[in-house]
Amino acid sequence: MINLTMDGLKINVEPGATLLDVARFYGANIPTLCYDEALSPYGACRLCLVEIGEPGKSRLVSSCTYPAREKLNVRTNTVRVMQTRKMIIELYLATCPSSKTIQDLASKYGVTGVRFSPKNEECILCGLCVRMCEEQMQAKAIGFVDRGVNRRISTAFDRKSEQCRLCGACMYICPVCQVRCQGPSG
């Protein structure tokens, strides 16, 4: 068993658990967009940040990918975590203003305005669909293409995929666009 402190609470956890597992088990409220219990963690949405380490030398890490470690001091709701999270939600809202999930998140965390120019993207590249397709459907029909600002999700060579069985799992798991996304059409 691993001993760690979370929000002042002394906790014993099984080896192999992530900080998000621990936090959710003990009822801490941590939002996520790219996490699903049935899929491997990816750490792309950065919403699940928690502060680790002693004050003064602490840093923020994504709790979904960070393993629970001995004597770790974790804090899930510090000012630093909250301010960073609010800014990230504001960025999301500016990128995908019409997504219901993101609007709900914004209202929950008190993000009332957007200071960036709106973009109207349809995808936040959380990668849930990619992992769903690979890990649960064993199809690997879609994946990430290109990098940086040009990153997008597509089938191989942007052609109609022979691996895709049109199961729709990618659309089902998508946290953001749901309606507008048409699945992996070729």
Partner: protein, 620 residues
């Protein structure tokens, strides 16, 4: 030379072969070295070597005078460089047609050719001998000294200069634990950016059991940085020797050199080096009869900047997309193929043979208490002597830029220096006396990085500069983390707004706030350091941002949207040169009468400004 040399099986055999090579080397005492590295090759140093060969043949000197390509000689600004040994006379900006004269005058008659020797651009003083140059005088060239005399394709040259002695010492006289201890005592810190203690890393890997790997990180992607490339192209055996010693110390039996495909010459050189070392039995099974063996493979990256990050590098070596992953588990616990892996930078490994050879105590004598040894910087930008400089850690920026670098070009004023590549920070003139070591640079908001050093003069706009680096990073971010991908592109958007005159003070505050968030919330080093150029330029040059926002002016005259060109009537003699050269036909006027710029049509390219001989164009 004897290509089918038998494998070296013991230390005695090695020293016997070394004596042979040294004898051959001494017989070739009189030789001419031509820099064969990137900068000089681009300026036709291959033709110089061809011309020299022809010349020597004509004069029947091929037997007595050697001619060889060497690695980077450092003073890239004045290439192609030619050094005549044994006097070490340095000629710069040589063209192929100069070679007959050099052979006749210097080699045969022993006279120095005045027009080819180096002149200091600021003092005008002439220097004939390489060692006397102010550029070299202040440097401590431990790693780069090998470049001066050795042909990077010849292992014989390297061994004759004392190369692989450290390997022999490590493998035959020391235990792996002693090697680790020596490196730890030398306080060798990783030269790739983070400055992590290399000895500690090795120790941890040594303690792990089972199959292990050691990887040499030669994925150097910073704009304007080329020290790893020069080491690999100029002295690949030094890096290889460090890698083998590292493998011995960490008990890894497999080594990988991860190198980017944009460095074709370096790939070729390291490949040759590995093959030659294999032929001599310095790579392979049972090295020098010690029972220790290593296999070394090359892995060629496709050139993503983020693949310099160690976890992304391992993904790339493995054939996956180069994306960083969460640490822990750290690589020394679970790296390549989930086995313990040590990743060291090229320059770190090149330091290792020196530590083993001279001992930790002597090595530590150079540099500062916490940062020992030397560091190679690629000094570029608006300095007189651009090139590679190797200095003890802790030397001040002023010494590097003004004494070694020879000051700012065209006598302009120094404005800032960017250290540590795109993720580093810009430091103003008030920090010129800052010692360059890991801690001092980090403290003031910059970093050591891999050693890029870009010097800027008064004509550089800091807002434009921040935009340039952000654009680079936006392209090079892997795009996995939302805050890095979206954050950097939003930072760029804000900076571009300011440089276009659409900025506001609120946007400046937002820029600062977002920069802190990106720094705090991203997974890997790329995202965490990406806001540094913005944060440091705001910290030290906030006035410049404010002038852009409040007065809609760019003080340095760089941001196109904020500058205007005008012709001062009284200065214009109507020569028509500007009109002829203007690409957007924005200039009108009759000959010998003052001309006029149509501001709506003007593209603000600045060609008129640079072509006008009467300084009649006013840039505001």
């Amino acid at each position: 030379m004897d290509l089918e040399a038998p494998k070296i099986k013991s230390a005695e055999e090695f020293f016997y072969i070394q004596r042979n090579y040294q004898k051959q080397y001494r017989d070739n005492n009189r030789f001419i070295a031509i820099c064969g590295d990137t900068g000089c090759t681009a300026r036709n140093s291959k033709a110089i070597l061809g011309s020299l060969d022809r010349c020597l043949k004509e004069k029947d000197l091929s037997e007595t005078v050697g001619a060889r390509f060497t690695g980077c000689l450092g003073l890239c600004e004045s290439g192609p460089l030619v050094i005549v040994y044994p006097e070490e006379i340095l000629y710069h900006r040589v063209i192929p047609d100069d070679m007959p004269e050099i052979v006749e005058e210097t080699v045969q008659a022993g006279r120095i050719i005045d027009r080819l020797i180096y002149r200091d651009p600021s003092s005008g003083e002439k220097y004939a001998y390489a060692r006397g140059l102010p550029f070299y005088k202040k440097q401590v060239r431990n790693l780069l000294s090998g470049n001066w005399k050795t042909d990077p394709t010849k292992i014989e040259d390297y061994i004759a200069q004392g190369g692989y002695e450290a390997l022999v010492k490590a493998v035959t006289e020391m235990s792996p634990g002693e090697v680790v201890q020596e490196v730890k005592e030398a306080r060798l810190r990783g030269r790739g950016g983070a400055g992590f203690d290399a000895g500690l890393k090795w120790e941890e890997c040594f303690k792990a059991s089972g199959r292990k790997f050691i990887i040499c990180n030669a994925d150097e992607g910073d704009p304007g940085a080329f020290m790893d490339r020069s080491l690999l192209e100029g002295n690949p055996h030094a890096v290889l020797e460090g890698l083998i010693i590292g493998a011995y110390a960490t008990d890894a039996r497999e080594g990988v050199v991860y190198i980017r495909s944009e460095y074709p010459t370096a790939v070729e050189k390291i490949k040759t080096a590995i093959n030659r070392a294999k032929e001599l039995g310095l790579v392979g099974d049972d090295i020098l009869g010690s029972g220790f063996g290593i296999q070394i493979y090359l892995s060629i990256g496709a050139g993503a900047f983020v693949c310099g990050e160690t976890s992304a590098l391992i993904a790339s070596v493995d054939g996956r997309v180069g994306e960083p992953v969460q640490k822990p588990p750290r690589l020394v616990q679970q790296g390549y193929l989930d086995r313990p892996t040590v990743v060291n930078n090229v320059e770190t490994l090149a330091n290792v043979p020196h530590i083993i050879k001279q001992g930790a105590e002597n090595y530590r004598a150079t540099g500062t208490e916490a940062s020992s040894g030397t560091k190679i910087f690629s000094l570029v930008g608006k300095v007189n002597n651009t090139g590679l400089v190797e200095v003890p850690l802790g030397m001040t920026l002023r010494e590097i830029i003004f004494e070694i670098g020879g000051g700012i070009k065209e006598g302009k004023a120094f404005k800032a220096v960017q250290t540590g590549g795109p993720s580093g920070g810009c430091l103003p003139a008030s920090y010129l006396d800052l010692p360059t070591d890991f801690e001092s640079l980090t403290e003031v908001g910059s970093m050591m990085g891999s050693g890029g050093m870009i010097v800027m003069d008064e004509d550089t706009c800091m807002v434009d500069l921040a935009g340039y680096f952000l654009k680079f990073l936006a392209d090079e971010s892997c795009g996995c983390c939302f805050t890095c991908r979206e954050g950097i592109s939003r930072l760029l958007e804000l900076v571009q707004n300011i440089s276009c005159g659409r900025g506001s003070l609120d946007q400046l505050d937002l820029l600062k706030e977002l920069a802190e968030v990106v720094k705090d919330s991203t997974l890997c080093g790329l995202g965490q350091t990406a806001p540094n150029p913005v944060l440091s330029t705001i910290k030290y040059f906030e006035d410049e941002y404010r002038v852009h926002i409040l007065q809609n002016k760019c003080p340095a005259g760089v941001c196109r949207a904020l500058i205007t060109f005008e012709i001062i009537e009284s200065y214009c003699n109507g020569c028509g040169l500007c009109k002829k050269n203007c690409p957007s036909d924005a200039i009108t006027g009759e000959q010998k009468k003052p001309h006029y710029i149509d501001k709506d049509q003007c593209d603000k390219c600045g060609i008129c400004f640079s072509t006008c001989r009467n300084e009649a164009i006013l840039k505001q």
